[in-house]
Symmetry: C2
Subunit: 302 residues, 2 copies
Amino acid sequence: MRAPLLPCYLFPYILVSMSTFPSLAIVGLGLMGGSLALALKEKNRAQKIIGITRKRATLDAALQRGAIDAASDELNAARDADIIVLAAPVRTILTHIHNLKEIARDGALILDMGSTKRAIVNAMNQLPERLRAVGGHPMCGKESAGFDAADASLYQDKIFVLTPTERTNECALNTSHALAETIGSRVIEMDAARHDEIVAAVSHLPYILASNLVATVDDFADGDEMVWQIASSGYRDTSRLAASDVTMMLDILLTNSENVANMMRAYSRRFGELADLIYDEDEKTLREMLERAARVRREIKI
Amino acid sequence: MRAPLLPCYLFPYILVSMSTFPSLAIVGLGLMGGSLALALKEKNRAQKIIGITRKRATLDAALQRGAIDAASDELNAARDADIIVLAAPVRTILTHIHNLKEIARDGALILDMGSTKRAIVNAMNQLPERLRAVGGHPMCGKESAGFDAADASLYQDKIFVLTPTERTNECALNTSHALAETIGSRVIEMDAARHDEIVAAVSHLPYILASNLVATVDDFADGDEMVWQIASSGYRDTSRLAASDVTMMLDILLTNSENVANMMRAYSRRFGELADLIYDEDEKTLREMLERAARVRREIKI
């Protein structure tokens, strides 16, 4: 399924992983893009970083913090870049990929940091053969967004998923590996479809659970402040994701709606069983179900 | 509904809050009872603490850490205590209350730290008139249990709910307030029925959500280790409560099953609506629902 091997614009892995990255454009300077720029600058591993975002204030802040060398509010500024990293909500990334068909230079590598991968890999497969593209997703979300939250250590010891496309050749994959490892991540390669199933389970479902918990408790509280005073660390942690950036989450849910709906159905079925067991006070079966979850949860190292 | 004012065995509030507590028995030396003993010892505010639990190893550990002055594996050892604190799973507390009818000395104050309050307050209402009793619930759970996890600072800046009973007079209430404040807590008084409704929403529902999340993802993963590698901080926090002590949680759920079932029904209704909106890709309504939860969650200070 990989693209035919064109002459590799970049170096082979052994050189890439030891050398300085050439000119790099980062499109989107929020938590993810901003942290990437800061991490590369801290390691002094990029010849030149061009920051691209529509918000002038963000560009100014990024220049001032030394995260980028040049700033632009137009995608056109990615024209001369050897590597173009797209760090935006998924549907914005899809638009960027489309627009880069004309803009990107021959042999340029396009790598994204979007939270779902099937739609993006499909769009990357439509790129002209003169371009390279790899899907990427670093597993290090935070509920605080924006460049202000950016942090050079965000990617340290985190998983960075890479999903090959029809525009991925060995050189593009090597370069992507090297970039992820440079900022401290550990790479896992997988198919875009499998990635989207997995994140529906371990990331999108938890977000929906948290959001729905907050709304349900808010309905119940109905203005009674006492309810929030009684809420303690259990509620705090279980509901944390509800504060995530909604525009980003909508892009995620709507580009992964089938997997998310499937996971929600599976969740609902088990939830209904639990409710019946509690209502019927079936202590034995209830204990078995809760013990199983407790055992699995205690074994997980995150 | 309060008990007729019998001669107050203990001091009035102003004296109680400034003075040393008399002889105190703590029944159950897990996270809650153990932390209470350590906190009182650290402040040097108890004349004598008798630790009571069936596990010899826990008694030895508590004696060694200086948490208690005397140790016993029999409830009978609470015979001479002025204050008896019950720190055990709810249904064990119910048994202790029943047994203390014969054991406790005239005028003794029985205070509990159980996680649901209606069943306990009902049991306290059946105590002989010669005894005092107040329901209590400090809002500071952890998923790690046992004396090893005990910590003198556990109650610091945490809410301590007190629920009056028919065996509560002013003196008993004052003493309970003073005890909670001594260990650093802030007291909220409320009706047992309201307490149980609120904790069903902010504590028991989050536990069920977490436990069911772990089981659903474990079903989905079906042995594929990749799934757990992709799981990140969002999954970690949303699922944390699933590791709670199951025996304690079963006592909680089964002594509050009606409220928990009601909250689960309310949650399910909204969850179904969300699933439909995602499946139908109704972005506008979905955005409104998610924005509301994000706004509410960001406002909460926990």
